[in-house]
Symmetry: C2
Subunit: 431 residues, 2 copies
Amino acid sequence: MISRADCLERDAADSLGHLRSQFATDAIDAQQLIYLDGNSLGIPPRTVAERLQHVIHDEWASGLIRSWNTAGWIDLPGRVGDKIARLVGAAPSELVVADSTSANLFKVLHAAMAMVRADAPWRRRIVSERRNFPTDLYIADTVARAHGFELVLVDTGDVPSQLDERLAILMLSHVNYRTGQLHRMGDVTRAAHDAGGLMVWDLAHSAGAMPVRLHGDDDATTPDFAVGCGYKYLNGGPGAPAFVWVNPRHTARMDREGWRQPLSGWMGHAAPFDFRPDYVAAAGISRFLCGTPPILSLSALECGVDSVIAAEAAGGLGAIRDKSIALTDLFVALVESRCEGHGLALASPRDAGERGSQVSLVRATDGYPIVQALIERGVIGDFRGPDILRFGFAPLYLRFVDVWDAVDRLKTVLDSRLWQEPRFSVRATVT
Amino acid sequence: MISRADCLERDAADSLGHLRSQFATDAIDAQQLIYLDGNSLGIPPRTVAERLQHVIHDEWASGLIRSWNTAGWIDLPGRVGDKIARLVGAAPSELVVADSTSANLFKVLHAAMAMVRADAPWRRRIVSERRNFPTDLYIADTVARAHGFELVLVDTGDVPSQLDERLAILMLSHVNYRTGQLHRMGDVTRAAHDAGGLMVWDLAHSAGAMPVRLHGDDDATTPDFAVGCGYKYLNGGPGAPAFVWVNPRHTARMDREGWRQPLSGWMGHAAPFDFRPDYVAAAGISRFLCGTPPILSLSALECGVDSVIAAEAAGGLGAIRDKSIALTDLFVALVESRCEGHGLALASPRDAGERGSQVSLVRATDGYPIVQALIERGVIGDFRGPDILRFGFAPLYLRFVDVWDAVDRLKTVLDSRLWQEPRFSVRATVT
């Protein structure tokens, strides 16, 4: 049986351990918090505070409008995009930061539908998992209704049965937000392509937490579109701008055909400073930009992305993934050994190779008050109705001893039945 | 003839003069800059730096994910929206902050098209000015093409001739970005309505610089939709989120009919924390929200909006408008008297009642190097091709003496032919 001392030893030997010092953990440490919600909102890198002061004082207040050139604001969506591209196996100039994940998904679904209409107009189905992240489904549902497509939602295991001559687009999250289940990107992409469909990935819960290879071994295993989120494992701050990647074969075709995305704002124009009345799409991925990007939030995102890139010298995303697996395996083992008899079961895949950087537990009843009582005891996870207790493990700043302490407090909450106090049943707006 | 001393006297007597101290002008003062580009990017309020430190340290680093509730992040789009509503003559809960102006225009054009399709399907024209802000035209062009509408662009004087039985939507900027021409919102709205069309206003260059009355005297003079920008006279910072207002008669109808806007992300869902797979639009204006808002940029925007609201005790937007007119009238008078013979002519309306808070000059040639030389002399205006020299007058922080000094430097640049030095002809990316 692993002990707390064993965990401290593992931390001491952790080749990524020094990276925790990048993050503003003082407040967490002072509160003796264990933060297992980095999959919802990463912790700020220490550099953010200074960077934002610089943006406010030196770029905005002093440089003023000139900073679009002199401080490179105009290039930020591409510059930060190129950095994220390194983290998701894409090439430079294939990915930009823009808008929200939802808006970017809207754009790529339009692009995918336009391709399907041109190449295989009989294909009318957008297929996804019923338990995919709801906002992705909301966007897909509206897009499908508006354009004569059909959104088909099935259980995860039934996805393969939907890959037929009716398939237009397969839209999945690389890691499921509820269960943490990790799809094999290459295999699933190949299956969608073999069926004649296009593949759209949402990388919200994988980018920054594991190696992602958008460029597969060949065209068959290389997806068509991807979107992702800046504020989870990329540590970009609340509501950080999102990103969008498009297979360069497709942007080349869009260039040839002059295709424009529906949100055709000035940032995606070929010559925005000519102030022409007519829209001409910029070449390549830049056509997926829309309006003026929020520079303060975008600058913070760059700090967050840099915090992941900083791991490159210590093994990069491969080492991050190894630690992530070690953390989640430890959590599963400790919960199963120390919290037995309390009705908790594993809702995530047991095989770490099929699991993202999170562990979800399921309990038939009272998951909500248990999570609330645990939060009061200083362990922040979250509840996803009706029955999921969700814990994220951000490998850049979590320690093995944090996992031990988290399970120890969970055991206390369960053993003492602390969660049965009525105040823990009152729902807040956001959990 | 007015002298510099006269200007200093006017500043001393200015009832809004004390509001300049709200802004981080130290860097400008140290550079002896005169900033006549607040219509592109406002100066930061002094409160922004501290507010962002608070958001980073206390809300993000310390509150972490809990801050969506405890720091009220979830309410920010509505809370800042309610404040902007006060500045544009709208009621609380009619306006939200979201996304970019371009994305919001996309949403309201979809809403307007849906209404026209239901009520007057023969109407297929979206009418606007050829010289309207290009990104508005880009969005309208793409929307029109995708949905069988026609974008009709005419010269400003020809707009009335387009208000006929074919009109679906009249889309105008309240103040034109090039010339500063101010439309009479009530009269133009009534004319669009009399023709049976819907009225969409872009308030980018008026919100925060003058009283705007979205609620007119009656239904006929009350427009249907409005969008606007956070980073010009609202001082919200580079790329600050934008806003969207919808006539409450229309949102009530949307509620009855369950209408959803195309960017149907989670923030616009009726019950986002139920994590249901199906989309149900939130009631009222909230349905126009999409993805997670960029909290850092949105917090800065609140400081900017507060800087305008702070004028309420000193006469509010009426006093701001009076000062704006005084500043622009002074600029026109000084340019015409002191810079005579240099080929400059007034491109803005001479009547201040028809002019926004900017003055545009036109010169047949060499406008670009003249603006560049002027910038080097510490007067920041901008050039809008092919021939417009544009100067914005943000009444919250500009002084009468700034206007005097700006014209004095312009005169020096022109008299000394400084702008003829070759380096001023090299175009930067953004002007």
